[in-house]
Structures are given as C-alpha cells and as structure tokens.
C-alpha cells in the first residue's frame, strides 16, 4: 500500500485488500462500500442542508427585519409630524402676535384658550425676556417672575433660536416637554415657551398595533426613557441596552437584555430632535417560523440520513453477498475445469503407459504360459507341482497388471456413446445383479427405495452401468459385513433425476471427500487403482450430470448422482 499513488488510494486502493484471500475480505469490502456510499450521499445532503439553512435564515431575517424598520420609521415619522406641528403653532403665534400682545396677560389667556381648543396637549404658554425672566404666563402653575437665565435650555435657545426639551416630569408628576422659540424684533429679543403634555405619545405608540410580546417607546440620546416601556420601566428610567449613536435611518440590532431575553431591537433616531424611536421584539417570537422551519429541516435531515444508512447497509449486504456468491461460483468452475484438465492429461498419459506396458506384459504372459505348458506336457518333470505354482503366480500377476492397464485405458478411452431410452431403476437393478453374490456372502442388506413412476431417461446403458457399478462397489467396500446400503431414486426437477447410494460404513474425513474424484487418489492402498471414482466422475460429467459426496466419518457416506433426462454429451478425453 505504501507505493500507491494518491489517485490509486482514492479509487482502486480502497478496494485493494480484496485480492488477498483473507477471510475478512468480504467484511472489509462491506465496510469500505458502506463508508464510501455514506460519504458520497450524506456529504452533499449535509452541505445542502447547511446552505439551505443559511439562505433561509438570511431571507427570513430580511423578511422580518424590513417590516420592523418600516414600522419604526413610520412611527418616528408620526412623532416628528406631531412635534413639527406643535413647533409650527408656537412659531406661528410668535410671529402673529407682538411682544406687547404676549406681555398682556389677558391677550395671552385668550390666545392660549384658542390654541387649547384647536390643538391638543398644550399645557401652558408663557413669555420670557431675554434676561430669562418669566414676564407673563398662562397655565396651571404660577411661574410669573421666575428666572431661567441660568438654565441650559435658556442658553441653548439664545444660541439656536429654537429648543425642544427632553421629556420631564412637571410639578404634577406627569410627563411633559417644552418648546421654546426666540423672536427678534427691532427693539428687543424675547422667547415664547410652551409646555406640551406627552400623553399623546402613548396614543401614537398604541396606534402601532403591537402584539403583547412587543414593546415600543422613545428614548433620548442620553438613554432615558421618554415614554413608558412595557419591558424597561416608566418615563425617565434608564434604558438598559446600549444603542448605536449617530444619525441613521433605522437599524435592527440583536441584543440580550439584562433579563437575559434575546431581543430584536429597532432604533430609529429623530432627525430634528434628540429622540430615538425604539421597537423591541422578542427574538424567539419573531423567528418562530424560522424555528419551525429549522426543526422541520432537522427532522427531514435525520430521517434522510437514517433512510440512506438503512438502504446503504441493505444494498451493500446484497451486493457483497452477490460478489461472494459469484466468487464461489467462479472458484467452483475453476476447480471443475482444473479437474477436467487433470483428468484429460492423466488420461493421455495413462493410455500411453498402458499400451507400453501391455506389450512386455504380453511377452511375460506368453513366456510364462509356455513354461507352464512345457511342464504340464512333460510327465516326468521332477518339481512339477512347485513349477506350476510359480508359473501360475506369474500369470496371476500378469492378469492383475492387465486389469490395471485395461482400467487405465478404459479411463482414458473416449467411449462411443449409444443413446437409448432407459428405465434408470432397471439399470440400477441390473447392475446390482453383479454384486448380489457378494451381498449374499457378506450378509449385506440392500434397501431399494426406487421411485415408482421415475421418468425414463435417454442415456447410454453401458456408461450408466459402469457408473453405478463403481459407486456400488465403493459402498460395498465401505461397509462391514452385515452392513446396510440404501439406494434411492427420485425425480429432482423437470430435467433431472437423482439417484443416491447411502451406506452405513466407515465414512471419510472432509479432506478425503474433497479429493475423492481425483485420479489416483485411493485409500485402499494395496488393491485400489484410485481410478474408479475418477472414471465415475468423468462419466457423470460426460452425460451432463453431476455427482456429489456427503460423508461423515464413522457414520457413512451418501453419493448422489444427478442425471439429465436427456443426456447431453460433453466432449472430453
């Protein structure tokens, strides 16, 4: 793995471990596919969710922030209009009437009455000299002769010609504000000052139609409440939040107030006076739809992730299972090809060897035969008995060799097959006939469980006989005397019939069962050629069938042969 290039790591390297034969390779494959699929599905989903959340949050904020700003600006505008109007009144009457008019108490009273009737909220009206002395006054208090010369508003009005006060609590403890206008005539300077009841402010605020969880009020630039606030106290209390100074249209700020509530606060400062319109809303209220959306998104996200994970696991399991099956099939096919190949090359070799051995064997046979003949024909031969014994022994050995070479040749032979319609049960019984004598002699119990209406098959009688003879002989060799052999036949499916031969003999270990169809594999050491079952295997394959062995050591063996109803010949030497 060390020498892999980065792209190999990225692609193939991920699956490279699969080439080894470790038993974990399917587990690793499964794990890798799961990780890869989860990554490529969840990451885009995750990115999309984040982008979505971000975009939605932004748009929803705009949707919420803009109305807040509009509302605050509008209300500010109403306030400004109201103040503008009061200012205009005071300015107008200061121009309409002369100093003389205002200094006359009666005239002042009349003007005040008229104004009171026409415009709301006027509390008092008075004339103040350029020295700051109250020259005349009409209203609820008695301010005549009061000296304002040292007060800051007086100094301001002298400089600027106009003054709008912050809200203050008057003698009667309700909020007021004052407007003062400076007039210059040829002969003197004087100031007209009016006090306005700010209860009108509350009306303006209530006209905003705010929900109970919201709050709106005015503050001055020093941070004191100018109207009562639902959240932060009464007039002239200090507004607890710090707010942006300077002039601007209307801004919305997210803040946490001293009670720990998260707030969306809108500030709209007045242009011509020192007031700031403040609109406060609970953040959670405003963003409720956003929270609902977010939880929906979260739900969808989690649901999708779980669904994807489940599908990925299920799919991966299926895929890996398929891969595993395909691998097994390939392995099996490979083994079969290997086996067939082995059989065919061994077959060629066997044929050659058998032929080469048969000729010298024939010579030995004839020489020994002649020796025997000579001894038999000579009546006076002294050691006749012993000599005949010796030649017989040679001839028997030759006979044994002949059996082996003929079997070898039979194994290698490419037999001409003759097809005929056969009753498989009949072939089985016919073949068992060869072994009846042995069964009788050894007290072997033969149980036949042959299907009554077994379909007839189209196959080669000789081949089938050889096939069954080999399997039966094997079973006979496996069982002890008084053993049991059961032969069963049945219809496996539309194309196939099955025959099983079960014995209660010695059985064999798995290792042996795996090698049992290989040529020259034998456990009978002295008298087996190791070809019987290999030939059997060859015949079954040639007839297009299949053979399986199932064995348990000490319990017995079952050979199962599946034959096609119509034998399909597979060429093979």
């Amino acid at each position: 793995m060390d020498k892999l290039k980065w792209y190999q790591r990225l692609t193939g390297g991920f699956f490279l471990q699969l080439d080894d034969d470790s038993p974990d390779r399917y587990r690793i494959l499964r794990r890798n596919i799961v990780i890869l699929m989860i990554l490529i599905t969840i990451i885009p989903l995750f990115v999309m969710a984040i982008i979505n959340q971000y975009e939605y949050q932004r748009s929803i904020k705009n949707e919420i922030v803009n109305p807040l700003r509009t509302l605050a600006s509008k209300t500010r505008h109403s306030f400004e209009l109201f103040l503008e109007e009061r200012l205009a009144i005071v300015k107008s009457i200061s121009s309409l009437y002369s100093y003389k008019d205002f200094s006359d108490q009666k005239t002042l009273n009349r003007i005040f009455r008229v104004l009171m009737n026409e415009y709301c909220c006027l509390v008092d009206l008075g004339l103040i000299s350029s020295e700051g002395i109250q020259l005349s006054y009409t209203g609820p208090y008695d301010f005549l002769g009061k000296d304002y010369s040292q007060q800051s508003w007086f100094k301001e009005v002298l400089v600027k010609g106009l003054y709008i006060s912050d809200v203050f609590m008057g003698y009667r403890q309700f909020p007021h504000m004052a407007i003062a206008v400076l007039r210059r005539t040829e002969d003197r300077i004087w100031i007209l000052r009016a006090t306005i009841d700010t209860s009108k402010f509350d009306e303006l605020i209530s006209s905003m139609g705010l929900s109970p969880e919201s709050d709106a009020f005015l503050i001055n630039r020093k941070g004191f409440l100018q109207t009562a606030s639902r959240f932060y106290g009464k007039v002239l209390d200090s507004f607890p939040l710090s707010f942006p100074r300077g002039n601007y249209g209307a801004i919305v700020v997210e803040e946490v107030d001293p009670q720990g509530r998260e707030m969306l606060v809108t500030y709209a400062p007045f242009t011509k006076s020192d007031y700031v319109m403040v609109l406060v809303k609970l953040r959670s209220n405003v963003l409720r739809s956003w929270y609902v959306f977010r939880s929906k998104m979260l739900f969808i996200f989690i649901f999708s992730v779980i669904t994807i994970a489940l599908i990925v696991f299920k799919l991966t399991n299926t895929v890996v299972q398929r891969v595993k099956e395909a691998d097994e099939r390939r392995e099996l096919a490979f083994r079969e090809v290997q086996h067939t190949h082995k059989l065919s090359s061994i077959g060629r070799l066997a044929a050659g060897v058998a032929h080469e051995i048969n000729n010298p064997m024939a010579i030995i046979n004839e020489k020994a035969g002649l020796m025997k003949d000579l001894v038999e024909y000579d009546a006076q031969f002294r050691e006749k008995e012993k000599f005949l014994g010796l030649t017989d022994s040679i001839l028997k050995s030759v006979e044994r060799c002949k059996t082996i070479t003929h079997r070898l040749l039979g194994f290698a032979r490419r037999m001409e097959v003759q097809l005929e319609i056969l009753d498989l049960n009949e072939v089985i019984q016919e073949t068992l006939g060869f072994l009846e004598r042995e069964a009788l002699y050894r007290n072997i119990i033969l149980r036949l469980s042959l299907a009554d209406n077994l379909p007839r098959v189209s196959s080669d009688r000789g081949q089938l006989q050889q096939l069954f003879l080999n399997i039966f002989s094997n079973a006979f060799a496996a069982v002890e005397d008084k053993g049991e052999i059961t032969i069963t036949s049945w219809e496996e499916d539309l194309d196939t019939v099955g025959v099983s031969v079960q014995d209660n003999g010695c059985g064999m270990p798995e290792e042996t069962a795996r090698k049992i169809f290989e040529p020259f594999f034998t456990t009978k050491k002295q008298y087996g050629t190791g070809l019987g079952l290999s030939i059997t295997y060859g015949i079954v394959k040639k007839l297009g069938g299949d053979i399986k062995v199932n064995s348990k050591e000490g319990e017995g063996t079952i050979f199962t042969v599946y034959l096609k109803k119509k034998a399909k010949f597979e060429s093979g030497e």
């Binding site: 024939a362 010579i363 046979n365 004839e366």
Partner: protein, 120 residues
C-alpha cells in the same frame, strides 16, 4: 490347422506360436506386414491373427490388403491399446473378432475355432 501370427514383437509371437504348436495348431509367424502378405500368398493359412499396431505397414492396412487378396481368410485382431474404437474399425473392415493383449490362450483358441467354423 494352420494359422498365421503377425506381430512386430518377435518374442511374443514366437512364444505364442510354440504354445499353439503344443496344442496341435500349426502357427506360421511374421513380424511385419510385408512378410505376412508374402506368406499368405505362398502358404495360405486358415486364419490370420494380426496385431493392430506395427511399424511400417499398420495392422488395419494389412487387414485391408488381406481382405483384397483372399477375402475368405478370417482375421482376428490383437490390440494392446484397449480401445474398442480400433476393434470396431477393424470389424468394419472385415475382421472376424478382436482380442486385447495380454491374451488368454484358451480364449484365443476358442475364437479361432469359432471364426473358422463361421467361415465354413
């Protein structure tokens, strides 16, 4: 009875001839196809025992010529390569029977007798 044995394995064929003589069968011997065909012409046997695989003229070729030369002479084939295919091919060419090596002499004599009887 006079028969002709044809086989390239001299040791085999002479020994077999001797054994047959012991049983009262007169056996001529040839170790290749040419010699066999010459012998058939000069001293025709009642039956020919012919090995299939021989150097030079092969057994089946010799069989063809015998059948062309004296079609009435029965031929029994010997084969060392237990292939029935050769046997069947030989039978199609007119051989009376075939045997596999190593042979059993009693079986051979039986087949000889049967073939001659059939011939007659």
């Amino acid at each position: 009875m006079k028969i002709l044995l044809v086989d390239d394995e001299e040791e085999f064929v002479t020994t077999l001839a001797e054994r047959l003589e012991l049983r009262g069968i007169h056996a001529l011997v040839a170790t290749d196809g040419e010699a066999a065909l010459d012998l058939i012409e000069t001293d025709p046997p009642q039956i020919v025992i012919l090995d299939v695989i021989m150097p030079g003229l092969g057994g089946l070729e010799v069989l063809k010529r015998i059948k062309a030369q004296s079609p009435q002479t029965p031929v029994i084939l010997l084969t060392g390569r237990g292939s029935t295919k050769e046997g069947i091919e030989g039978m199609q060419l007119g051989a009376a029977d075939y045997l596999m090596k190593p042979i059993n002499i009693e079986e051979l004599i039986k087949k000889i007798q049967v073939s001659i009887k059939n011939q007659a």
